[in-house]
């Protein structure tokens, strides 16, 4: 009995260490960031203090952090679905843009409907727009074997041009169309179409919606047949095929759903933050690179929708804090993008220790394991044969 108890205990400890790996990865990235700051002749403590202050220093700062975290979380939820299905969606930027375009069109068209109805319709339109932009690479992958990494990158570039074209042409603010400046932006949304604010800050309803959706995505992935099949296809497409699952269909669905959540992220940016669409010609000008940073957040949350919540808040905080850091110690906020990159590298690199310990646990006849996320299986398969 005590042997079993010991085993359970060491099992628990090692799982605990596993869940801390992303935290270590972040600390390591911040440490390297500190070295870089020293090279730039900036006191790292001062810089990081400014960063912390900018992200959490006041109720307003914290609200900004949550506002920034909202699109990250929505994109991350989509990433959880697609990566669990072993589909790598890096088209979040384009999917956000198309979702926002669809949603904005709803708000500019149905101006005589009640506010709440337009908001609901607009969010659904954003969801649909993202689904279209994610679904196309999904179809291309499933039926034409076009690598989704490439097609989603191309779709990003196409979406940017689509946005620039629409905002300069058909969707331009009528008052801008008459001016010589012709700023490429749409007309503002009616005030009644704005997502309600939760507390007297810029924090809007979108944040709450994202959190609720995180729970729903968890249920989808682990409590429904659809989610089970997406994960089964991600684990082992051949086994899934033998089990009678139509693999291609679930590849399409994984990308489509993934895109839909990014599209929703785009819609909430328009209805919760900007109240119109405006372009500076680049994708990040609209998305703030949330399409990429959402991937970082999802990985950090170990591709778990609920763990993606704190992960998104962390990266939202880094991004908001970076602006303050730029003001206080004159370090460009680009530093944080570089650090995000390091976090990604460290998190995926640290997986090897988790795999090793998992293997040890299995070797000593450990407990039944939750199957690992699909992107780990390659290493394990190699080791197992």
């Amino acid at each position: 009995m005590s042997a079993l108890k010991n085993k359970l205990q060491s099992e628990w400890i090692s799982r605990f260490i596993d869940s801390l790996l992303p935290v270590f990865a972040t600390l390591a990235a911040l440490l390297i960031g500190a070295v870089m700051l020293l090279f730039l002749r900036v006191n790292p403590i001062e810089a990081y203090a400014a960063l912390w202050d900018g992200a959490f220093g006041s109720p307003n700062a914290f609200a900004e952090t949550l506002v920034k975290a909202t699109p990250l979380l929505l994109v991350a939820l989509g990433i959880c679905i697609s990566f669990r299905g072993d589909v790598i969606n890096i088209g979040g930027e384009g999917q956000m843009i198309v979702g926002a375009v669809f949603a904005t069109w709803v708000g500019l068209t149905f101006t005589n409907l009640p506010g709440w109805l337009v908001i609901v319709l607009a969010l659904l339109a954003g969801f649909a727009g993202g689904a279209v932009w994610g679904g196309i690479p999904g179809l291309l992958k499933a039926y034409f074997r076009v690598n989704e990494i490439l097609s989603t990158v191309m779709m990003n570039a196409i979406a940017v041009q689509l946005m620039n074209f629409l905002l300069r042409g058909p969707m331009i603010d009528p008052s801008q169309a008459q001016l010589a400046s012709k700023i490429p932006q749409t007309a503002p949304l009616l005030d009644i179409f704005r997502l309600p604010r939760l507390v007297p800050t810029r924090l809007h309803l979108g944040a709450l919606i994202a959190v609720i959706l995180a729970v729903l995505v968890y249920i989808l992935l682990w409590r429904t047949t659809l989610g089970y099949r997406i994960r089964a296809v991600g684990q082992n497409p051949n086994a899934a095929r033998y089990a009678g699952i139509k693999v291609q269909r679930y590849v399409v669905l994984a990308l489509l759903l993934s895109g839909a959540f990014s599209g929703l992220a785009g819609a909430t940016q328009v209805y919760g933050v900007n109240y119109r669409m405006i372009t500076d010609g680049s994708a990040s000008g609209f998305t703030g690179s949330a399409g990429f940073n959402g991937i970082v957040a999802a990985l950090f949350g170990q591709l778990h929708p609920v763990w993606s919540i704190p992960a998104s808040i962390l990266f939202g905080a880094l991004l908001v804090g970076a602006n303050k850091m730029q003001r206080v110690v004159q370090v460009p906020s680009a530093l944080v993008i570089a650090l995000n990159g390091l976090v990604v590298v460290f998190v995926v690199s640290s997986e090897i220790w988790r795999r090793r310990r998992q293997r040890q646990r299995l070797a000593v006849g450990g407990m039944e394991e939750e199957p690992p996320p699909p992107h780990e299986k390659a290493g394990q398969a190699e080791a197992g044969t």
């Binding site: 074209f165 460009p332 570089a338 976090v343 995926v348």
Partner: protein, 310 residues
Amino acid sequence: MIQDLFSVTVLIGILASGIRLATPYLYAAIGETFSQRSGVLNLGVEGQMLLGAFAAFYVSLRTGNLWLGLLTAMLVGAVMGLAMAYVTVNLQAQQGISGIGFYLFGLGMSDLLFQKLMPTVETIRGFPRIYIPGLSDIPGIGEIFFSQNILVYSAYLLVPVAWFVLNKTTLGLKIRAVGENPDAADSLGVSVARVRYFTIILGGTLSGIAGASLSIALLNVFQQNMTSGAGFIAVALVYFGAWRPIGVLGGALLFSMVNALQLWVQVLNIPIEPEIAVMMPYVLTILVLVATVSRVRAPSALTKPFEREN
């Protein structure tokens, strides 16, 4: 106006700029071909290019020596490659995702250094055109093929060299073996790790040159995110070219020619919305991928980490 497009001068202009524009894609995609043939997908090309572009520009500007700038870019790319190799070979990290990490690192780092080290926007006199004696005087042809700068020429030289190395040398055989069947290669005494280190570092070096070709040979300026997706396109071109240098050349030329056409369409005021024109190369790439990809097979071990059996 449409008929302007078919005048000889314009046609020569399009072809000449198409040849030139293909340069960064060639370097990066040939480098990526090597790493993918050995079984490693390097998605960090874009980041390597950005850092390479900045390093080349900054060093050239400060020292006045373009070659020193180019060398620095190669070094920066190689170091990024080394890091990527350690992460993918030793730590067996998932390649697509770690590549995104390296991309973000290069994106942020090049921007940070740019803002910190260069207070004002500056331009540079890049590598000059080299007129090949005799050949450059041939009307049309001379302008298109024989009046380019050194980095353009060497990009095209790289294609047959890469073909030769991959297909006609022992090293190439080892690279292909490691990418197709690492277990068999390993049992024959080929070090999978060493081969992959070599190809990833080579890929990084070439990506560094690709970035440099933008900042000190073609555009002669550095801007934030100046590659704007070229590194990802380069990865796409490898699939497009079916993992063969000659196919990559074809893809790079097609993409760049359409891009050059698109630029000229705007110059000549032809009534096509500029955004639609800019979109075209990307749409075309997707369409060609659809048409070709299902007929070719990727290296079997692509994206799969290798671990020796005990």
